[in-house]
């Protein structure tokens, strides 16, 4: 069987594209990193790809808000391609800056077209945080998390990762639609209840990742691509292992290959 191909987008300032590519290859996909300028110039056919990934970084230096200008470019240059990818049900993932771009372009949570219901803004403590967090997969609808049966341990590295919603009722909508894909939890798996540093940014409901109502598009702040090997675990010298972020990426690749 041919390996699924993942298209990894690169805007100016994207910087976790290479390790995301390596992680996807480890998960069984073929990864191609394409700068947006190249996509425009080559008139790349997005239908050649089975997965789409928007990686982390500081696209355009996070000027005017993290992911804002990346989102604008997606909306202006690639609205059709993104729309098609999302509608076709193929797996799409946005990580960190990619999540911010998907949210700010309205792809996520995507419940009402052309209306923003959520945003990612400055962490509650106002500071960039680089630390490891524990995530509990929640959504049984999200193709990236539905079959995961163990926690994920991986780092966050962001200053604008606090999920805020337009209104409190929208939180109920997300629950009702099973759109909360991942939550920050304590190491034992119980909810962080906003407690720092387990919930590193103060996100409402300890939400670390959400999916669209269809379940094929996942956005998350933490970096599963930075925990795909044993020696990346902060306590591997203590013999601790497992809870790989790789599992999440494998789910997407598996789904794309089916």
């Amino acid at each position: 069987m041919n390996k699924p191909k993942v298209l990894i987008l690169h805007a100016n300032g994207t910087n976790r594209d290479v390790e995301l590519g390596e992680a996807f290859e480890l998960a069984g996909a073929v990864a191609e990193i394409k700068p947006l300028t190249t996509l425009i110039k080559e008139k790349t056919n997005w239908q050649d790809y089975q997965l789409l990934a928007v990686p982390g970084g500081f696209s355009y230096a996070d000027t005017l808000g993290a992911g804002k200008l990346f989102a604008l470019e997606l909306k202006i240059y690639f609205a059709e391609q993104v729309q098609e990818f999302v509608a076709s049900g193929k797996p799409v993932i946005g990580i960190c800056n990619g999540f911010q771009a998907l949210v700010k372009s309205g792809v996520l949570p995507g419940n009402t077209p052309n209306e923003r219901n959520a945003t990612l803004t400055f962490n509650a403590d106002g500071q960039f945080e680089c630390r490891w967090v524990t995530l509990a997969p929640q959504s049984k609808k999200c193709i990236w998390t539905q079959h995961l049966n163990e926690l994920i341990y991986c780092p966050v590295a962001h200053g604008e990762g606090q999920l805020k919603l337009a209104n409190p009722t929208f939180y109920d909508t997300l629950i009702h639609n099973d759109q909360i894909a991942l939550r920050y939890v304590l190491p034992n798996g119980t909810l962080a209840h906003q407690k720092f540093p387990y919930n590193p940014n103060g996100s409402i409901g300890d939400i670390a990742g959400i999916c669209n109502s269809k379940g094929n598009v996942l956005g998350l702040m933490p970096h599963p691509e930075d925990h795909v090997l044993r020696y990346q675990h902060p306590r591997w010298t203590r013999g601790e292992k497992g809870l790989l972020g790789l599992r999440l990426l494998e789910e997407g690749v598996k789904y794309a290959g089916e």
């Binding site: 910087n15 390790e19 403590d125 919603l165 990346q232 010298t237």
Partner: protein, 1002 residues
């Protein structure tokens, strides 16, 4: 044309940025301030319809979910004196009436404003095309319980909110913005009549142009032009001043020094390069040749390493200074065709609670300096996607006016992929940012001492970097390298194009035209274009037929490419403006014509070198209190609040992280990285050594100590001691003062001896002299002579890496090395230990053998944890290992002076943790190497969460001492009775270590 003001405010009542600002305001004594709200402020010039304004606001400038945006038409321009100083409102809160004030700031014209550029670009994406200019700023809404006078508001603005070097501000709203128009530069070139000047006039000229040239140097220039029978142009004069600056030419390090009876033909050659040459390590690929030193990594790759200082710029504009300091060193690494893979940062700051009254005129408070510097490194390192993985922070009152900012960068290069051979007719290509007055005369600026006016006069020397352009350069250069698109590359650093083109062209010659250089704003004279230190620019020699391919690559990553001219083969540098030559200098004169400096100085009195055993003893209570005081000394206390600001995980290869242990908060000795894209199990190790306290007493021993520390730290995580390369970074005072230079000589001598001892070659280095502040009354204050030693090592198998956290109760704890009563410059003394007439720790003769044996033990995976002993000695290291593992320990010191045993900072010592089943194998290794006297069994790791130190082993502790080889025993348990010295719960240690206490400076 209309000027629109967009005011963007957070809707949330709890704005963390505002909260932090308020904290700082209170810390600086503004007690009556109740609230400071911060809005983002954007100015857009252009005739915009209300629909366009709305779209700009909603789709670009603010986040509709968590911010509000108000659009205003800027009022008719008012002269500043007419601007209302405050907007007075009454708030009937039922409590005291609050006064409201507004202060607005804007970047000064000419300071890079990436936000403004993105506003225009974003607007174009939204199809809003009639925006002429944009600018960004901030608006502070301040509420106070008591009225503030204008003078107080000015004070608040200058002390806390604004940096006048880069910002302009107004008490009240800003209604007028000066936008520079983009027009070509001027062709104004002045001749400088130098041939007939007398000595006094020569010096006056040097001063007037802030060139920092001595009389002797001015005379050499004069003689050259007398021979040429013409006067220099301004651009020629400035080029010579740059090239001959301390910063670019390291003239003090090349000077001939008569040091007592000893003739030293250059510190650099005598002490630094000679070590490298004598060691002649086959794995050193390049040392002191390129922008960065290069060593072999494995069969396929090499590693480049460079560290730089950016002290003066960081003193006057901490964010921009540190930002561009890191930017510069990243470009150094890119300048040897390497992809940056790790950053390091080491800072020296003044006490963070320095009373405002002690802040020197024209300088910033150390707290603002440290906040700015850390934010600057965070911004640049994180945004360029390079993990910041190693560093330290050292505090001393002497750094208050003159902080030190060291930035280092490691890069990865495929073997033999760095070309250094520009060819005749290759194009002179500049990649990257546009040129402005940024950083003008930065090289000469950094070669001067600072005074109260420095910030004002040297404002142009400072700039803010643009890390996204740097990231784009990384993408372009690494790909261009792989495609073989260039024949030589270097970065534009200090001295700008003059240095870069000059140095690259010094091999063959070059002919360039400055009219081709794209400018940020109008009116730059040719000399300014030539010398500008605008950031994020790389220079390449590109064969004409490859320019097109390079240009395409640049388009992909949105990097500007400029063709300045071509390389020649006449050994001459010709610079033109619109075809007309403005600079014609002979390379031989420019690069070799500088008169060599000569110094004749008396030798430094020999510091105390004889060890006297101390008699001092202490009670349990005193010992415990000392341990806690040391743990919360700012130099020792946790740096987690800084480390977490840096992304140390990016690129996915951080095997040993800066923080480690059960709670990911123990202090690692060094980091281990498995570089992205390499195969196999090999990794690289980064560590550092720094101890200015030692230098205050004995600069020679400071040097050998920091070499020992850097090597020891690297070995502690698993580096092979036979494969460690080092960098020297000197920050010193004014070398024209004999005792300052003498201390530098002794320090350099230590550099040689230390490097030869451990056989660690220098591959690159840097010196920053004249780190002094001169007060208005002429009183000088210099920093303590400071040497940062950075080490780059190799670990053959990352699976053998070791971290510092205790792993398991029941494991055995050993101390390796010899402890002597060495207290000069110790942190025990800094915390009130008062041990006088002591010595700075010596270089342990056994060091190399001990480290090799320890490394062998690690390769056999006998070592469960390992931590070096440095500031605070055994007590601090032991406590840190307990903190890392959240485990207790019980050790006994034996029949020895407890103060020395616990707090002396003797070099060459480490603590290791061994599983009981590996005891014999471990001890045998050391015995085979005849090191048994250096291996001291101390006790065991426990589950009790208490750190216990006894004089002698307690019979009840159940540790396996009785099964110990006799020669490893200390003391004689049969005669003396054990005495409890320290019993401290781990949580108490954690609390002390995580709460830095600047009160300990008093």
């Amino acid at each position: 044309m209309a000027l629109h003001r967009f005011i963007v405010s957070p809707t949330s009542q709890t704005d963390p940025h505002a909260a932090r600002l308020l904290n700082n305001a209170k810390a600086f004594g503004f007690d009556t301030i109740n609230e400071i709200k911060v809005d983002n402020l954007y100015f857009v010039e252009g005739d915009l319809t209300s629909i366009a304004q709305q779209r700009l606001a909603n789709e670009l400038l603010h986040d509709i979910i968590c911010e509000t945006c108000v659009v205003e038409e800027a009022a008719t321009p008012l002269t500043p004196t007419l601007t209302l100083p405050r907007e007075y409102t009454r708030e009937g809160t039922g409590m005291a009436e609050l006064q409201s004030y507004v202060i607005e700031l804007l970047l000064r014209p000419g300071v890079t404003d990436p936000v403004a550029e993105q506003i225009i670009r974003g607007a174009e994406l939204l199809n809003i095309r009639n925006i002429k200019h944009a600018a960004s700023g901030q608006r502070f809404n301040i509420k106070t319980t008591q009225p503030l006078s204008n003078a107080e508001l000015q004070h608040l603005a200058k002390r806390l909110l604004v940096n006048p070097v880069i910002h302009q501000y107004n008490l009240g709203s800003i209604n007028q913005v000066h936008f520079p128009e983009a027009v070509p530069g001027s062709d104004e070139v002045a001749n400088i009549p130098i041939r007939k000047l007398d000595d006094k006039a020569l010096l006056a000229l040097s001063q007037e142009r802030r060139s920092a040239l001595s009389l002797q140097e001015m005379q050499a220039i004069q003689a050259y032009y007398q021979g040429e029978e013409r006067d220099p142009t301004d651009i020629e004069f400035e080029t010579i001043a740059q090239t001959w600056s301390e910063h670019c030419s390291h003239k003090t390090f090349r000077a001939h020094i008569q040091y007592g009876d000893e003739t030293i033909k250059g510190l650099l050659n005598t002490f630094i390069r000679r070590a490298t040459n004598n060691i002649a390590a086959p794995w050193v690929a390049s040392a002191f040749v390129d922008n960065a030193g290069i060593i072999d990594f494995d069969d396929q790759y090499q590693l480049a390493f460079k560290a730089e200082t950016h002290n003066h710029p960081s003193a006057i504009e901490p964010f921009g200074g540190a930002n561009t300091g890191l930017g510069g060193v990243i470009r150094d690494v890119l300048g040897v065709s390497a992809k940056p893979i790790a950053n390091t940062d080491v800072f020296c700051f003044g006490p963070q609670d320095l009373p405002m009254s002690q802040v020197r005129e024209g300088t910033l408070h150390p707290r603002l300096i440290s906040l700015g510097v850390i934010a600057g490194v965070q911004d640049y390192g994180n945004k360029t996607g390079i993990p910041t993985v190693n560093g330290t922070i050292f505090y001393d009152a002497a750094y208050s006016a003159n902080p030190l900012v060291y930035c280092g960068c490691v890069g990865l290069i495929p073997k033999n992929k760095h070309p250094r051979d520009p060819q005749l007719n290759d194009r002179v290509i500049v990649l990257g940012g546009r040129t402005g007055r940024d950083g003008l005369r930065g090289a000469t600026f950094s070669s001067m001492t600072m005074d109260a006016q420095t910030g004002e006069v040297a404002g142009a020397s400072v700039q803010i970097g643009d890390p996204i352009i740097a990231k784009g350069l990384i993408e372009v250069v690494t790909r261009a390298r792989d495609l073989g698109l260039y024949t030589a590359i270097t970065d534009c650093g200090a001295g700008g194009l003059s240095s870069a083109v000059g140095e690259m062209g010094s091999l063959i010659g070059a002919d360039v035209d400055l009219a081709n250089v794209p400018l940020k704003y109008p009116g730059l004279a040719p000399w300014e274009i030539w010398l500008s230190e605008a950031q994020e620019r790389m220079l390449m020699a590109v064969p004409p037929e490859k320019v097109c391919a390079l240009s395409e690559l640049c388009d992909t990553y949105k990097i500007e490419l400029t063709d300045l001219g071509h390389f020649t083969n006449n050994n001459c540098l010709v610079v033109r403006y619109q075809g007309k030559p403005v600079l014609q200098l002979n390379n031989t004169f420019l690069f070799d014509g500088m008169p060599r400096l000569h110094f004749d100085i008396p030798t430094l009195p020999t510091p105390c070198r004889s060890v006297t055993e101390i008699q001092k003893t202490a009670t349990q209570e005193e010992l415990e209190s000392w341990v806690l005081t040391l743990l919360s000394h700012p130099n020792i206390a946790s740096k987690e609040h800084v480390i977490r600001r840096y992304d140390h995980e990016i690129q996915g290869g951080t095997v040993v992280k800066p923080l480690t242990g059960v709670k990911n908060d123990g202090p690692s000795d060094a980091c281990v990285i498995k570089p992205q894209g390499t195969s196999g199990v090999r990794g690289m190790v980064l560590s550092n050594g720094l101890n200015p306290e030692f230098g205050k007493y004995d600069p020679y021993r400071m040097a050998v100590s920091v070499i020992d520390e850097a090597v020891r730290n690297a070995v502690a995580v698993g580096a092979n001691p036979e494969r460690i390369a080092i960098l020297d970074n000197f920050c010193w005072g004014d070398p024209k003062r004999p005792e300052t230079l003498a201390a530098l000589v002794e320090c350099c001598r230590g550099c040689y001896d230390g490097a030869m001892h451990y056989f660690t070659p220098y591959i690159s280095g840097k010196d920053s002299l004249n780190n002094e502040y001169v007060a208005a009354n002429g009183q000088r204050s210099a920093i303590p002579g400071t040497l940062l030693l950075s080490a780059l090592g190799i670990i053959e198998d990352i699976n053998h890496a070791v971290t510092m956290d205790f792993k398991k109760a029941g494991n055995l704890i050993y101390l390796l090395g010899e402890t002597k009563s060495e207290f000069a410059g110790s942190h025990f003394n800094l915390c009130g230990g008062n041990i006088e007439n002591s010595v700075v720790p010596e270089l342990p003769t056994y060091g190399p053998r001990l480290y090799h044996t320890l490394h062998a033990a690690m390769k056999q995976q006998l070592v469960r944890s390992c931590h070096d002993l440095s500031e605070g000695g055994l007590s601090v290291s032991l406590a840190e290992m307990c903190i890392g593992g959240r485990l207790g320990c019980e050790i006994s010191l034996g029949d020895t002076n407890v103060i020395t045993a616990l707090f002396s900072e003797s070099n060459g010592r480490l603590l290791v943790e061994i599983m009981p089943e590996n005891k014999l194998a471990f001890e045998k290794l050391f015995m085979t190497n005849k090191l048994n006297t250096l291996v001291h069994y101390l006790g065991i790791v426990t589950n009790d969460a208490v750190m216990i130190v006894n004089t002698l082993e307690r019979a009840t502790s159940g540790s396996p001492l009785h099964s110990h080889p006799a020669e490893l025993r200390r003391g004689d348990p049969l005669v003396a009775l054990p005495e409890l010295l320290i019993s401290l719960p781990i949580e108490k240690l954690v609390r002390a270590w995580q709460t830095p206490n600047f009160g300990s400076f008093a």
